[in-house]
Amino acid sequence: MRTARSTAALWSLVGAIVLIAVWEGFVRWRDVAPMKLLPPSRMVSAFADTPGFYLDNTWVTARHLLVGVAASLVVSVLIGAALAAFRPLEHASQPLLVLILVTPWVAYITSIVLWLGSGTPSIVFLVAFVTTPGWVYATVSGMRGADPAARELFRSIDAPRHEVLFKLRLPSALPSIFTAARINVGLGLAAAYFAEGATFTNEGLGAWGKRAAAQQLSSILWTTILCAALLGITAQLVVIGLERWLLRWHVSQRTR
């Protein structure tokens, strides 16, 4: 199993090196305008010139992402548990969940800023808001998928609702919650980057990315994008690591 994972990691590294080489070569060969696409080497040198600046802003964006996603996870699991227990409530909540899913968040950011003010509250709210439906749907379907025989077993000794939730339904929902996590990390990061640029704040990769775009500062723009991408990859790796650890019993994490 370890050998298989090492081989997979090696191939991922090979793929990344090839991608960077093709990117660098293409931009230099075609002499692409820096605002259109910056070669990786210039992003690395921009980062090396002022690492503290980029690391500080990456940390700000990471905090927005983490707090927003964590808050929406907690709220969504509670909502999901309630919806899984009461079907009428699930039906009643559909219009709101679908509305959140399909409405472009770019469109209502102004309203959020008017309600919550500029800066962190609006950014965290948007991250939490857009990631909520994914968590809720995953929680409901996962909890509903709990083994019927096990549910009956719990009933046979009159298990209280909270024990059914924490000892049966929630663990049963973990695989689908982790699937949602992989999607929500990317979605939440996009929301955080966008909201930082749209809520008149001076902190975060999105705030500096937007400012750089307005002032045609291609190095800063593309290096903030690189930092956001690396942050997203790190977040994905954390999710995968947690998934492997917490779901070691699940068929998706087993080799036999």
Binding site: I157, P171, H250
Partner: protein
Amino acid sequence: MGKRFGDVEALTPVDLTIQPGEVVTILGPSGCGKTTLLRIVAGLEASTCGTVSIDGSNPEAARRQKRIGFVPQSPALLPWRTVEANARLLQDINRSANSANLPDALELLDQVGLNDFRDSYPHELSGGMQQRVALVRAFALGAPYLLMDEPFAALDEITRAEMRYLLAALCEPVNTTVVFVTHSLAEAVFISDRVVVLSSRPGRVVNTINVDLPHPRLPELEDTPDFFAVLTQLRQALRDGSSAVDTRRTEPIQGGTGV
């Protein structure tokens, strides 16, 4: 008590009394209402008529007091819990209703030969081993009543035989009242004190056969003429039940009492 699902009569009124410590098997063809009968006794299904009395109380009260150990058809082990944690599952839930003298789950695991697998996860076990954990989980509850719904149905014949020997061995010392549902004649004869034979749907009791075979029940018993004699008697009772099937729509159920 009896049971109807809409217009379909699943179980005609059944009147059955089970003595403490008795092992009673409900035997009958598929769809005759065996599982329905068991689920009504367990309080997992409501009867359409009549009542079930467990030591003077209803099944819901017995469930609340954790006096019923239920063994479903599939092992229903929780895949995120180890073998030991699964064996203790029913002890860990609704703890306030636990009996004062809970059996030692580790001792029971040892008894069924799974002590070396206590830290394993269910997916690391064979089907027979998983079912052994399910049995331990039920016995670890220390409940005076065990209700088993064809727990060995999915196992191969060899494992199935081993499981009935194991179940008989587990039942011998604890004086637990067992209601066991099965299709298997050999299983019914080997573990039971009494076998209740149901007819095809709608299920009704067509015969009750006492199994006066010696205790403890050991595997060699299955090679004795006495065992074969009871087996033959049961087979005949099943045939009689099948030939007595009434496929016509039955009259509305009259009230019945007891189980």
